[in-house]
Structures are given as structure tokens and as C-alpha cells.
């Protein structure tokens, strides 16, 4: 276990091993002392050693006098992992749907109702009432006489010599 504590301090354990080492540390006074001493060694080597070699008894006594805190469990969406997972899942789903639509070539599938043989297609032409000949002639009479029309020549005009 002490070797695990050493590796734990150095950040050289995997998540599972680290969780096991932390569990062991918390459960044993001897391992907690080891944890303390190993930190003292590193700090001393860096010139940041303690003023005296003793565990912070005052703090720990005061800590034990405190009522135990119990934080409410965080909801799923409050954890970073859950938020990232949800966002990733939404992105994947969006890409999937867009991709699927793209592979369909933009064709809209035929409506199922058209395949039903028992149903008759509805005529989409609107029946026009028969045109009255008299009305037709009356319209033509209202048209201006032919002399009012200027003759149009579609040939290019020849410049005068």
C-alpha cells in the first residue's frame, strides 16, 4: 500500500488504482501518516519544509468537532461529464439525421395513400364552363380597327444614300 501512496502522490496511478489507494489511505491512520511524511519530504527537498514535524493536530481536532458535512448528490446534468456526454449525443444524433436525409437524395417518399388501389385519384383539373360564341365575338368587336395598327417591318432599316 505504501508504494501505491507514493505513486498516487506522483499522479502515476490509473483511476481504479488511485481510488483503491485513496480508500486505503483514508481507512488507516498509519497510511495517513505515510501520506503526510511523503509530502513533508518533497516539501523539504524544495526548501518548503514544515516549521515542526507534527500533524496539524489543532486543525484536525477542530475538524472532528465539526458536524459532518453531507453535500446533496449532484444531479446528473450538473456533472461536467454528463453535460459533455449529452451535448455529444445530441451532436451525433443531429449529424445522423442530416446524413440520413442526405443519402436519400432529397427525394420525398411517395405517400402511402397513393398506393392504395381502392382509392381513385382526384382530378386536379377544374372544369371550365363552355365559352359562349357570342361573348367571344363581342370581345373581338371591342378591339380597335386594323388601320390603327402600325405596320411593323422586321427588317433592319437601310440608311439613305
Amino acid at each position: 500500500m505504501t508504494q501505491e501512496i507514493s505513486s498516487l502522490m506522483d499522479g502515476e496511478l490509473g483511476a481504479q488504482e488511485a481510488a483503491h489507494a485513496l480508500q486505503g489511505c483514508c481507512a488507516s491512520e498509519e497510511h495517513k501518516r505515510t501520506w503526510y511524511l511523503y509530502h513533508v519530504i518533497g516539501d523539504s527537498m524544495r526548501g518548503q519544509g514544515p516549521r515542526r514535524l507534527s500533524l496539524p493536530g489543532g486543525v484536525l481536532d477542530a475538524l472532528h468537532a465539526q458536524p459532518t458535512v453531507l453535500a446533496p448528490r449532484r444531479k446528473l446534468l450538473e456533472t461536467t461529464f454528463a453535460r459533455v456526454s449529452l451535448a455529444a449525443a445530441a451532436s451525433v444524433a443531429t449529424v445522423g439525421v442530416v446524413g440520413w436525409i442526405g443519402t436519400q437524395g432529397g427525394q420525398v417518399p411517395e405517400p402511402v395513400i397513393a398506393k392504395n388501389a381502392n382509392l381513385q385519384p382526384v382530378a386536379n383539373t377544374v372544369s371550365q364552363p363552355a365559352l359562349d360564341v357570342q361573348d367571344y365575338l363581342a370581345v373581338h368587336r371591342q378591339m380597335p380597327p386594323p388601320e390603327l395598327y402600325r405596320q411593323v417591318n422586321n427588317r433592319a432599316a437601310v440608311p439613305a444614300r
Binding site: S6, E12, A18, E29, H39, P56, A62
Partner: protein, 243 residues
């Protein structure tokens, strides 16, 4: 923060106990070795993640987990507070109050920042309130910003917070550590020096020392255990006693 690059190591037997340990170089000189490139730390639990695990255990009611955070950060917090408060006894009291405040506020800690950043901010605010309560002038935010606490670890520029008595004890501890390290076999001394002073990963140390990672792991552990054996009598606690 620990230095991440290779330092040039020279052969100095520690004369002054309070000075940081400077490791003797290996045969041929470690100074000549090229710095190694950083390797990915896939699957490893970082320092911040370890703290987060301990915080979550404490939030579930495990006080022992919070004790581990206290023992890890007490010295660093006191050194930080020494920038605001002069009296060592007051520093100790304020640090204690800061830890208790942090413990009470644990349900509100969501892990958005590193635990130590959060703790140091509580520490600085506690120190400022303490000074105001005493009618002394608290440092302004421009004099000391708790945001800089994240990068705070360097001994440079810090006042010595030792009293004459504690200075003697402090020197004894440092002397014990330095003597124990100087007495280590060279491969153990090199391994722990590269880890603690240069902050190299096991993989990088393995490359430098040309040995498997498992050997590095074992060497660092054996070095720590050898030094800890010298310190345990000074700690003066028995196995059945709490701490």
C-alpha cells in the same frame, strides 16, 4: 509549481539545512542530458483529480478524506498567509479557521476550479477579515490577489515565518531529510531528485535513467521510505494513536 524542465544539477552536499536539497549528479553528470519531451499522461489520475476525489469523499461524509487535504495543503496555505500576516501564531490560527470554513463550505464546492485555488481564496479572505477585525489594514486586492494563489508555491520572496524555536525544529527536519537523501544509493537519489525537484514523470525518469517505469516507481518509493524512516521518530506518534 514544480519546475518541469531539467535543471542543471551540480554536486553540492547540503551544508545549510534550510536550503532546498540539491542532488549530487550521477556519474557522467545529469546536466549533460537533453531535456525529454513531455509524454501523454493517459489514464493517470492527476493531482487535481486526486484532490477532487478526496473532496467528493469528504462531501459524502468522510472526514478522513478532508484530513488528507489538510495535511497536504497546510504548509502551503501557511506560507501563502505569511504574505498577509506576520505573526506565526496568528498564521496558524487563520489557517485553521480557513480549513474549517472550507470544510463547512464543501457542499458548495462544485469542482469548477482546483481545490487548492478555492482553498487559498478562502484563506486570503479569512486573513483579510482577521486583520480588519483587529483594526489593522488588510492588503488590497492589488497588493495580493487570491487568483495568483494558483501559481503560488515558490519559496522566493516569502518572509521567514519561523520563530527562533520553530526555526531550530525546522532546520532539524530539513537536516534529517537532506542527510537521509545524501546517504541514499545513487540510483534512488537520482530518481527522487528528478521527481521532486524537476517534477518529471516516471516515464521521463525511466528514459533518463534507462530503466523500466516499474523500476523508477520502486526506486522513488524506496527513497521516500528510507527518508521517512528517519523522520518517523521525530513525528512521535504511535500506530494506534490518531495521527
Amino acid at each position: 509549481m514544480r519546475a518541469k524542465g531539467m535543471k542543471s544539477l551540480s554536486f553540492i552536499i547540503p551544508q545549510e539545512a534550510n536550503k532546498p536539497f540539491v542532488a549530487p549528479a550521477a556519474q557522467g553528470g545529469l546536466a549533460g542530458l537533453a531535456p525529454t519531451t513531455k509524454l501523454p499522461l493517459q489514464g493517470r489520475m492527476s493531482d487535481r483529480e486526486i484532490d477532487q476525489q478526496l473532496v467528493e469523499k469528504a462531501q459524502r461524509g468522510d472526514k478522513h478524506a478532508f484530513e488528507m487535504l489538510v495535511t497536504k495543503y497546510q504548509r502551503k496555505l501557511e506560507r501563502l498567509l505569511s504574505r498577509v500576516i506576520r505573526d506565526p501564531a496568528e498564521i496558524e490560527d487563520v489557517a485553521q479557521e480557513a480549513f474549517i470554513k472550507a470544510y463547512r463550505a464543501l457542499p458548495n464546492f462544485r469542482g469548477d476550479s482546483a481545490f487548492y485555488t478555492w482553498l487559498y481564496r478562502i484563506g486570503i479572505n479569512t486573513a483579510k477579515n482577521y486583520l480588519i477585525a483587529l483594526g489593522r489594514r488588510a492588503p488590497t486586492s492589488t497588493e495580493f490577489d487570491s487568483e495568483e494563489a494558483e501559481g503560488f508555491e515558490d519559496a522566493a520572496g516569502l518572509r521567514d515565518i519561523n520563530t527562533p524555536e520553530s526555526e531550530l525544529a525546522s532546520k532539524q527536519i530539513a537536516q534529517t531529510v537532506n542527510d537521509a537523501i545524501a546517504a541514499l544509493p545513487e540510483e534512488l537519489r537520482t530518481a527522487i531528485t528528478l521527481r521532486e525537484l524537476d517534477g518529471l514523470s516516471y516515464e521521463e525518469i525511466a528514459q533518463i535513467m534507462n530503466c523500466p517505469i516499474g523500476t523508477v516507481r520502486s526506486r522513488i518509493f524506496r527513497a521516500r521510505e528510507a527518508v521517512a524512516e528517519k523522520l518517523r521518530p521525530q513525528l512521535g506518534t504511535s500506530k494506534d494513536k490518531r495521527w
